[in-house]
């Protein structure tokens, strides 16, 4: 088949793809940003955050788990879809306890960066204020579940890359929470290491290295300098890993 046959459109723009790629993968490669949180180019698509929700041939679906097909007509950067994405972000904010000004991840956090990008002005709903523990038992990392957005990137990284299964999502509904593979349930008693892939994939400030507080001052961090949209698309252009 020719290149033209392996192509579809996003918001009217033609995008080429390699068979087997998802809509999100093809879009990012083409320099088109579709908001996403639980997707990471190095891992199998997961499809839980739903930030990447798009409309494909009239059907709403997640761009990260939907295969690209020739001739698809995809809508993404539309006011209605962006308003849905803002609502999803607000849900993630009120579900946990996110105090951005006091968070070491501020400026490097994908949740915060997307909120800026999608012009989410406030959390809108009453916070649930869940009681979630902070686990500082590990010498090299802090696990602060107040900020966890259940994307399971750490779960996938630990299982698929580190070969360890340090993390898993437990519970149901709003009671969903991360659990750690150790007798005490503490990170310090698990096989987790600072060099693990799982130590560096968290898109928010739930898994943070210890002893590196505010090495880069706020204002000079990744998403302080350019929006997540520019950043991700820029990386795609150079072929580098985000």
């Amino acid at each position: 088949m020719s290149d033209i046959e392996y192509s579809f459109t996003i918001d009217g723009q033609q995008v080429r793809f390699t068979p087997g790629e998802t809509i999100l993968q093809a879009a990012l490669k083409a320099g088109i940003f579709i908001p996403h949180l639980c997707f990471h180019p190095e891992f199998r698509p997961h499809g839980s955050c739903k930030l990447c929700t798009v409309v494909v041939n009239g059907r709403t679906t997640a761009a990260c788990t939907t295969r690209a097909m020739p001739g698809q007509d995809v809508y993404s950067d539309k006011p209605e879809l962006n308003s849905h994405r803002r609502l999803l972000l607000q849900m993630l904010f009120v579900e946990g306890n996110h105090f951005c000004p006091g968070c070491e991840k501020s400026g490097n956090c994908q949740l915060q960066a997307l909120a800026y990008d999608l012009e989410m002005l406030n959390p809108h709903f009453a916070h649930f204020f869940p009681k979630r523990p902070v686990d500082a038992s590990h010498p090299d990392a802090v696990l602060d579940l107040n900020r966890c957005i259940m994307c399971e990137l750490c779960v996938r990284a630990s299982r698929d890359v580190d070969g360890k299964n340090v993390f898993a999502l437990a519970g149901r509904g709003l009671d969903s929470h991360l659990v750690v593979d150790s007798k005490s349930g503490k990170l310090g008693d698990s096989t987790f290491a600072a060099t693990d892939k799982a130590a560096s994939v968290c898109p928010v400030g739930a898994i943070l290295p210890k002893g590196k507080g505010f090495a880069v001052p706020i204002g000079e961090r990744v998403y302080d300098k350019e929006s997540i949209r520019e950043k991700v698309v820029g990386l795609a252009d150079t072929g580098a890993e985000p």
Partner: protein, 607 residues
Amino acid sequence: MSQSVGDDGLPLDQAVESILLRHQRDPACLVQILRELQDRLDYISPRTVQQLAAKLEIPITRVKSTLAFYSFLYDEPRGRYRILFSDNITDRMLGSMALYRHMLNRLKLEPGEVSADGLVSVALTSCTGMCDQGPALLVNNRAVTRLTPERIDEIIGLIRAQVPVSAWPAAYFKVEDNIRRADLLLNTEWVPGAALQTAIERGPHGVLAELKQSNLRGRGGAGFTTGIKWEAARKTPAEARWVVCNADEGEPGTFKDRVLLQSYAGSIFEGMIIAAYTIGAKRGFLYLRGEYTYLLPSLEATLADLRRRNLLGEDICGVEGFDFEIDVHVGAGAYVCGEETALIESLEGKPGRPRIRPPFPVSRGYRDQPTVVNNVETLCKVVEVMLRGGAWYKGQGTRQSTGTKILSVSGDVERPGLYEYPFGVRVAQVLEDAGAIEPRAVQISGASGTCLTRREFGRRIAFEDVPTAGSFMVFGKGRDLFEMAQNFAHFFAHESCGFCTPCRVGTSLVASILDKIGDGHGTEYEMNELAFLSQVIRSASQCGLGQASCNALTDTIQKFRGDYERRLRPIDFEPAFDLDAALGKARAITGRDDSGARLSTRVDIDQ
């Protein structure tokens, strides 16, 4: 683990070993293992979690995540008598909440609290499928039906006297079939092996042809054509294939599968055996909802009978190489496990979180191999098609919805129970037959279904008009549809598996907004919030649970807006943070409660 001897007469360690042995230390049986261990140990302690992980050679996180997912698995003591009141709207219409509060008061307990002596806890649970004989409760997973204040008092007496549940009066546990209108399925006596014999004579391709001709469609909700589903599983190259009967029946207001499991189990299993013959499966599962655990012994007895007749086992009916076995897996309180991919996850011993589809189970299901999942009623229908032939079957019901459908009728009717009709029956006909009492609305197909007003009672039960998985709840004059929507909203918030953002957080937001309106603090603002939330939850959710979670809400707002409006305050918005309530402490300390000590006067709504 300490060495105490249990009901099984075995010391604890040995009992645990025998449970593990029975399941061949297979982590895929984790849900079954946890359930059986809990029966023996009362609850699953952190120590048990560690030991289990070690013995099954799996990470502790795997045990923990499964343990924390299911409502009927406990990681802390829940009392020796665990009472769970069924909390469907139909239980409430029969006065369950008064009984619930009465029991809590008499036992001096808060909801969910375990009494100080570790004897008893009382809480709510999702619909237990006894709507035609409610209000109902579960005591240590056994259903008690037709509750009355007297019966509650007797139960309290039995608990205080520490009488084992096995010695409680048998009448408590009587579950009636209540078959009110029988047609094709409910009227036909099962002749063991007769349908299978015709299937073998037709051969697998003949069976598929017959099923396709009959246009039999799944009775579990989605209405997928059974013949096409089976053919897809048969065509997918694989080392092994599987047949699963979906007996999770969690949809509020549905109880027809319970009757089929209780009195027509032979037909169900024979349908599974025909499926196995057709697609080439060696093993199958019946996934029984935890609420129906009481049916386990009779189901096992039917399976034993089938083995004796050589309808199960090896070289079935003398056909060389036709080997098939069925295991019953018992669920542990999770509505989402009725969704076929979540069910498969649960069968594999994991939390019941739906998978991303495609791939569909027919190509990658249980153990990533082709799997046919069918509803209980669908499998009984397969037996009918085999006995009567596809051409005859096609003539029953309507063109797009062939055959008959069993409805579970409950609510404000004189004769609640099962009603079987040819597809195409009008809602009004069902209402008349069941003796509906001045019906104001009918909620069809459960909490995720459709709400019909009086003007719509002329509509027909059929895939092409009002599709249904079987639930038919009638709301008489004076019933408040807001209360139904609020009850369902809490159901979905409780049952959301938590995988995807819109459903995990959205269903809880909807429930809390409805509570705000219910408490008389809602305004037009909340109504707009609900509209936007339901739009996003419906379109962005991963599976049918989230997608359908706002159906009743949207329907009732559209059709019974008055039930909402009379609760709304005339102002545009009232903040979720209630300053006046926050001042309550100061009022208590100062002993003041005059209007000067209040910021607003609460409008009380009479219920």
